[in-house]
Symmetry: C2
DNA sequence: ATTTGATGCGCAATCGATTGCATTATTGTG
DNA sequence: CACAATAATGCAATCGATTGCGCATCAAAT
């Protein structure tokens, strides 16, 4: 029992394949009667469109490629989920690939998507990437490209991200409001724009509150758990250690939390802690980790609909740059005045 | 500048497209000289195979579909990563979809993969699924299907999973060895085989060590955090509460851990705790959560290579059922005799 | 010198749907 | 009733690569 094609339907009804094709795609020039008949035979014969043939002829695959560093962060998987929702609502299928934060894999992922002839790509750039030629290959071939969160300023590309500066500023200001004055910062690699912004937000918040910036309280790293541990250990050895740490990533913050607990420090009384990303686990460590939520859901929706707009009218391209305002999620790790328990999840 | 095709290469060299096609696919009947020439022109003209056309003609898309409940558990994303590795090594691209543990989405995912005409599917069944007809649709169409972890006994299907029974048995035995005697169990939905097995393993371990099974210490749920919290709260209200909990999922275990901390209980002295899955966060909560590792990497490798074997010889199908032995990862939440620190990661 | 076999390549059909243009059916209008 | 206008369908090329079969060439073997 080989697959049924439009030819089978056509011969069954004594009409031509063209008519069947048009009937199935709801062409206005086909009579309602024929359409009905075709649809009936189609279901009866269990017809399923050969999207490959359609893609070959029409040049559209109805596939949307996604490239993310990894899927096992709730941020990324949540973005993906919401992209999927919007995309499938418009008959697009989604092809997900992971770069594992390696430029080489990112490259081969893009190659794969190019081979698969996706109609567009939504990506968040790998931590390692310094050469963007593979992304250009997409736009050069007229494939819409939307970057989110980890973005770069490329031609013919749209962007959606959060205001990292503001997120960092608010986090730092919150710590200050809690009475902290020696606030350390675990900064990410400054070649990534998001980490630069977070650093700036931190610095400006200090300045605006007349707190001197202290170089000794600053630690650059990959902001993974180990880095947070190392950073915290270093900080605790200072003659005047910090009374708060704002980490550019939840992972670094968790590393710091581990060390603090091991050393018998109280959180937030001795050292308050804030992360960034709102990873799932931040809500169930003890104490809950205050963090900055990145609006993954909205980000995915916007990225997907931006893509859709761009495929709709490929002729008139408009590069969108959308910046969302992040949301501070206050939990136990930073809340000293425990009178008001203002935990708030979205 | 439209895409270059084999026709362009052919006319450049005054040969036919067939020869070009054969040269590029390294056909033995093409001379080394022609192959070289073709390859050179191909790179010069920046030729990229139109895989859609190839797929249409050959009936092979070189795409492998994946269906998982969610990608944001480290178990699943790790399995995916290792599937990707094996698959791409054999020139296969991977298309990932998430069911969000909903039967309906699982169905539409399979439909999408069917439309995309993937050459095979590797899946882990959704928690909700009770009707497997969509999976049958695959095998009916001759598409190899490999199930992992959350499996079902379908025709013409291969399976790779861990020995959940043994994992549970060892976890329980470990608790007993640590001196626990009132061991509670948070069981998952018994319609899922893995949770049945884990329950059996728990029960048998008790029996083998002459500990009476106490119905009051058993809690069925979806083994999410809330369930763990609820279960632990109930247990603590018993007149003789448990001195250990073995949860069928890390999430339920974390919920229990939260409640224990809130009530001022010491872990593991008052209540020891073991989870299942070896989620990333289990290693950085405090104390570290003892858990059962599911060998995600190996599972992915086996699933992928099983798929590869089946596409190689579609004629002679052999249904493989592979069962791996899980590994108990002992951490602070269950280690009472803190003399030997036997943390072991893979 | 002829046969045999291997080697290298071309011809043309094919995969299944799409689509511009041509053609036929249908309806309405004067 | 004729003729235009419109609606509905058919024709045939096309997307780009693959592949079975056939033909030619050439070296080795008889």
């Amino acid at each position: 029992m080989s697959k049924t094609t439009i030819y089978d339907i056509a011969s069954e009804l004594n009409i031509t394949p063209s008519t069947v094709s048009r009937a199935l795609s709801n062409h206005p020039r086909i009579s309602a009667r024929t359409k009905k008949a075709v649809r009936e035979v189609a279901t009866r014969l269990n017809y399923r469109q050969n999207s490959i043939a359609a893609a070959l002829r029409s040049g559209k695959t109805n596939m949307l490629g996604i490239v993310v560093p990894t899927t096992d962060r709730s941020f990324f998987s949540s973005v993906i989920r919401s992209i999927e929702q919007v995309a499938t609502a418009s008959e697009y299928n989604v092809m997900i690939t992971q770069s594992n934060d390696q430029e080489k894999m990112e490259r081969s992922n893009i190659e794969a998507l190019l081979r698969a002839q996706v109609d567009g790509v939504i990506a968040s750039i790998s931590r390692e990437t310094s050469d963007y030629s593979h992304f250009r290959k997409l736009t050069d071939n007229g494939i819409p490209l939307v970057l989110f969160d980890r973005v770069a300023d490329l031609n013919h590309t749209s962007i959606v991200r959060i205001d990292d500066y503001r997120g960092a500023y608010e986090a730092t200001a919150h710590l200050i409001a809690q009475g902290c004055s020696r606030i350390a910062h675990f900064a990410g690699q400054q070649k990534l724009d998001i980490y630069q912004q977070r650093f700036r937000g931190y610095k400006d918040a200090l300045q605006d509150h007349r707190i001197a910036f202290d170089e000794a309280l600053l630690h650059y790293s990959n902001v993974k758990i180990e880095d947070g541990r190392a950073g915290m250990n270093t900080l605790l050895r200072l003659k005047s250690p910090p009374d708060a740490v704002f980490a550019a990533s939840d992972y670094a913050a968790i590393g710091a939390m581990q060390v603090l607990k091991e050393k018998g420090k109280r959180i937030p009384e001795d050292v308050a802690l804030i992360g960034f990303m709102n990873e799932t686990f931040t809500s169930f460590v003890d104490p809950g980790l205050t963090t900055v939520d990145q609006l993954s859901k909205k980000m995915g929706e916007i990225a997907a609909s931006t893509f859709l707009e761009q495929v709709e009218c490929p002729d008139e391209f408009v590069s969108k740059k959308i910046i969302l305002s992040p949301k501070l999620i206050v939990r136990g790790s930073s809340l000293k005045a425990d009178s008001s328990s203002m935990e708030s999840n979205s």
